[in-house]
Symmetry: C2
Subunit: 188 residues, 2 copies
């Protein structure tokens, strides 16, 4: 496997997750990850700033996808409609990555530092969505409320989706949660 292997990133990712689960996140080094993937540490650093970024470097793309989906929603789409479209767009983003997502969640759940980083990424995602809504003319506090509701749905849907017993697509779960939130809010 040469240094120009087109799937070096994917191999490094798979190797890292295997090692994080086998021997623990703290005890895994970049050298270990590169070795397991049959690549060099130099190649590792072409894709990731450090081992933590193996778990988090997808979040910039996810944020971009969600913000663009809000930006591209037709003018007459409501705030919650635009947020829903953004959350549904993540379904395709993750469709081929369920195994990675499951393993990633196990590693994150076991480390306070990683759970904190995940919370920060989600808070940033929520703020970006609120700002995208602001640019569409949605005023505060509605923009922040819709963004927070969307991120809450995304997070809960994602946690359900990666369970072994769950058979629905991520998008189906999102729509179910959206209907549930509507029902819960209507009851007050």
């Amino acid at each position: 496997m040469g240094r120009w292997d087109p799937d070096a990133e994917g191999r490094l990712r798979t190797a890292a997750l295997e090692l994080f689960l086998e021997r623990g996140y703290e005890l895994t080094t970049v050298a270990d990850i590169a070795e397991r993937a049959g690549l060099t540490a130099r190649t590792f650093f072409r894709y990731f700033a450090d081992k933590r970024e193996v778990l988090f470097n997808g979040s910039a793309r996810l944020q971009q996808l969600m913000v663009e989906t809000v930006n591209n929603a037709p003018k007459n789409v409501t705030a919650m409609g635009a947020v829903t479209a953004a959350v549904l767009a993540t379904s395709e983003f993750f469709v081929d990555n369920r195994d990675f997502a499951c393993r990633r969640s196990s590693v994150i759940a076991a480390h306070a530092e990683l759970r904190e980083r995940e919370l920060i990424k989600l808070a940033n995602l929520s703020r970006s969505l609120a700002e995208a809504l602001n640019r569409r003319g949605v005023l505060e506090p509605d923009a922040s409320l819709a963004a927070e509701a969307g991120i809450a749905i995304f997070r809960i849907a994602f946690d359900l989706w990666i369970r072994n017993a769950e058979r629905r697509e991520l998008g189906e779960i999102v729509l179910d949660l959206l209907a549930r939130l509507k029902g819960l809010s209507a009851e007050t």
Copy 2:
């Protein structure tokens, strides 16, 4: 002012916030805080584990108050009704502490480490509320959804409430946001 001053905790809190804003959070020591309050470091440590806890030691009481409010809601109250009661209960908790809350928010906003801690506290609060709902017989994912919606409303209401231009009570803002969430969800 003697060592048995009954408001030692309040004076330490006020002194700490003054110093955090005057010279920065990092550059303020426990000795500085005690000196400004006219007390000893020993007294400081009777109330707070470290200077960060001046900002966060209220969250355990807040969590207890919100969980008890959910626990004490009559059986026939809905999930979102119980969460709303819990969020409204915070209004009384904070009513005499608006100045402290404003200053605290300024300090937290200026420090990534403190913002992270705030996110963790809010995530823990949300999980505690979901668990309290579970004990009332509210199943998942509704319990988590209602808890997340409640915490989103609490956070946004709180940020509005501490603004200088805001004249409403925290509880009024909470009820306004709840109505807005209902409207936003109904539009989808």
